[in-house]
Symmetry: C3
Subunit: 397 residues, 3 copies
């Protein structure tokens, strides 16, 4: 990580004013400068905390969390980020059926937001639903603010939806920025985003989608590899292509894991569900066809089982550029012989990268805090300088 002065100088040059009072829902809705502002603020917040300088910009206030799917790591990252800025988490633990139609989303969104500064939502279960839901909430609180119902407009952070997982991909990006010594060093680096076998078949698409859409902006050469039938959402593929073209990077697709691993600087092997099947599942769920869902699951498990060779083994790693090649994962990984019989990665590869993997995850609280910070603070540089000037100890020791 660069020094604090250098980081602040960098932030001064980045135009992030449009993030003020805005949500963070998809990385590709943000400019390159805004993306870099998030990375820079995350590094600054970490730097301050490591130097025992309080980063509390809120004396009181609520950070609402809504997890429509189980979560441990994102939950703790969100709690950490809120706490670091002085916000108290209030969790909306809804029954799944309660928020069913637009009417109630509008109402509930306002009812929980009277003193909410930020809202974090995870909703990644059904294709076409999660991001749509977040936009409904966003519209509701925007209207509530304009109508004088809400004193402040809470800003949203997408904690994972059906399309993107921006807090994950941004944490991953910050990890490789730090690993390779600067964002400028990512240009031309080869990243393999590949499918991998897991005994559970229905993992979200948002991680690979988030990765290909974000990393292609950094001038990286991104290869997406997966067996036939495991296509991602076509619109995200288009975004990855456009981003690569614009940044001078590359975006390629293959159905051979080996092709992607060849000479890679970074490999990111991870299971995900086939998009088309997830669409069918959403429809079946919408129709309440639970027998249909069971049938589909059986079919998917069989399809899945035919690709057990998609594993990140030591042999596969030999194909990559060199011993410094970085193995990445959003965790938890399905580790062969450890968490399952046959999985995404062999135990020896995972073990070798454990510390790096944990560090990768450690960026997430700071990324979330940076997203919150830039959406709430109008003059980030000024406030950061004030925090440094005050130097209130985080821990009075």
């Amino acid at each position: 990580m660069k020094g604090l002065g250098e980081l602040i100088d960098k932030l001064k040059k980045l135009d992030s004013i449009k993030m003020y009072n805005e949500d963070f829902l998809l990385t590709w809705e943000k400019s390159q400068e805004e993306i870099e502002a998030v990375l820079t603020v995350a590094d600054i917040l970490r730097n301050l905390r490591e130097n025992n300088i309080s980063t509390k910009v809120f004396d009181s206030g609520l950070a609402i969390s809504q997890f429509r799917d189980n979560s441990t790591r994102t939950r703790f990252s969100f709690s950490s980020a809120a706490n670091m800025l002085g916000l108290t988490v209030a969790d909306l633990d809804e029954g799944k059926s309660q928020i069913a139609h637009g009417e109630t989303v509008r109402e509930t969104s306002n009812m929980i937001s009277f003193m909410a500064d930020v809202i974090g939502i995870r909703d990644d279960m059904y294709i076409g639903k999660g991001n749509t839901y977040m936009r409904e909430v966003s519209k509701a609180v925007q209207e509530g603010f304009q109508d004088g119902v809400l004193e402040q407009r809470p800003t949203l952070v997408n904690l994972q939806c059906d399309i993107d997982h921006p807090t994950q991909s941004m944490a991953d990006l910050l990890h490789i920025v730090n690993y390779f010594g600067g964002i400028e060093n990512l240009k031309g680096k080869k990243l393999a985003m590949t499918w991998a076998y897991s005994p559970s078949y229905g993992k979200p698409l948002s991680v690979p989608q988030g990765i290909i859409a974000l990393m292609t902006r950094m001038g990286m050469e991104v290869t997406l590899a997966h067996p036939e039938g495991y296509e991602l959402m076509p619109e995200v593929i288009e975004i990855a292509k456009e981003n690569a073209a614009r940044s001078g990077g590359k975006f390629e697709m293959t159905t051979f894991m080996q092709d992607a691993f060849k000479d890679a600087d970074i490999v990111y092997p991870k299971s995900w569900a086939p998009f088309k099947a997830m669409e069918r599942r959403t429809d079946l769920y919408g129709n309440g066809d639970f027998d249909g869902i069971k049938c589909l699951e059986k079919e998917l498990l069989a399809q899945n089982a035919s690709h057990k060779d998609w594993e990140c083994t030591e042999e596969m790693m030999l194909l990559t550029k060199n011993a410094q090649t970085l193995y990445m994962h959003c965790l938890p990984a399905d580790i062969t012989g450890v968490s399952c019989k046959e999985g995404e990665v062999s135990a020896s590869v995972f073990d070798r990268y454990r510390v790096e993997l944990y560090k990768e995850a450690g960026f997430k609280p700071y990324i979330i805090a940076a997203m919150m910070f830039l959406s709430k603070v109008e003059n980030p540089v000024e406030i950061i300088e004030k925090l440094i000037e005050n130097s209130t100890p985080r821990f009075f020791k």
Copy 2:
């Protein structure tokens, strides 16, 4: 809302010293000056927050919440209120059967209160139980304090019981005070508290009871309307009558919705369960007669279904005083064609009042905070003046 200076001047004239170290369980246990002190402090706290002045009077401390029934809005209001004053919420998530006899209520109440400054309880499920339970808790912590077990006496806030829903009725009152431009303007205003049809039959009586008991104190002309069989608790009817007589207002009852709506300035149409049936249900529950409960529910649903004409339609609204007539509801409402096939209110009426309804709900966090504030702070005016003098920013921006 009046200006801050005017509000503080008003508060200076109000005697609220008896609220210090006392619970807030029923509005009719409080004097008119105390009621107005709560409204005034709520307005002051809102004013301070809107001006980014911290209202934290606690550096640390716990606000215990106990929800013996599901809750979203009251839960968030309580969290907001606690947070605004600097308290951290600790939720007592009890198994229903654990706190079964006086012995354990006494013990549990002390065990959770070692560092508790306030306790908020919602217990509205069974007639004759909720308020009784709150008084048991209150007695237990009072004794604990006197015996030297507790360093401070946590004060209770009734977040809804079988008899009253003071945080709701007080938020409703503050809403109409603001809507009509001052508490002095409520004199002579006609309010229709009427039953309305909902497909679910067992809603608490505490809202209508709270409304008729509180609004009759303001010199308002309150009409209570419901079909035969939907009587409220007789003792609350008596209180409403006495209050009306004392305040120079009126309290009338009718079994025709139209009578109540006629020339009304405010209408509050809302479903509730028949009191006698709720009493029977409490007995059946006490005897563990779950078959009896099922039978009773069937009977009640049939009775209910014969009153589908009790709906707040546009046609009904034409009976009211004028276009400024205020439609109120504690939310969520059963909206015809939106949240149910046939409900309490037609969609067009609800839609027209949506912003006002959301604003109505927005007063609740401040009302709860004001109740906490007046029960914990011995010299409210002095402390408010100190908060203004310090002017610690709520959000450091």
Copy 3:
């Protein structure tokens, strides 16, 4: 409780530096001076709070709690302790099966600890498991810290395991220190730690084990009484024997409740499960033999029922030293005729000691806070003196 100056003078003389950055897992891993430092800091924190002086040493930060068993009192004590020091509780509410093998304990421990200052764990369900689990977590976060994954090393507090219940036994100790007017007055006091009948048969052994291991260090004469078959873990018996020998106290065992009560200054009658049976239960559980568990439970209940005479009655109390003899319990107690038909203690005995019992429980939040404080603060005396110098009000009144 002694005066603040006296307490600080005492703390100055106690060497507790080895507690810095260390866990608190078993009282017998701590020196006598460290034990006394915890008691002294607990008294100091209570003194400060009673004098409305803030004890917040953290401006922000998380206290992670992990309750692998239900808990009300310890949960609230932990929340209170964290709040008092300025930490926000984040609860890890794990599915029991998720953290199943070493791999994932290591990973989860790191994932929740990026901003964790302390971790409190309760895991008392299976013999041989709880303490082992805590040490795995401790090792994981220690490694995470050394590897640069974690910025700080969260320290652990054992909130009850299969072997010891240090926050309970230390709170109990502080209670008797205060009751008898000083730790120096415990020398020679006779304490009866006896088994008592309860209709539920499987209560943890950690309380009696914690008591005999800790109280024998104070020069007390500790008698452990239980029916045959209700032996405690042999290694803890050894520790109690050694401690008694070293401190000049006594440690005796008997299978007659009366022997233990005879001339006792303190009686602690409490049900616990037979250790050997608990070991068998752990094995059955490990093998997934749920029929075996059911059989074992039936057997244990029958064995249990043959010892209904092990009750702390008024008659039994007559055997003790005098009217000042202290009855203790970790609560909740099984009270004959109140919480069960036949239980650990008769209602009249319990009632007579209710206030003392509640006070006993009231020491726990301070004990936990003191354990956290001494593990996080390098110079406890200096920081306490700064807190007093600053004298930030806990409640701004």
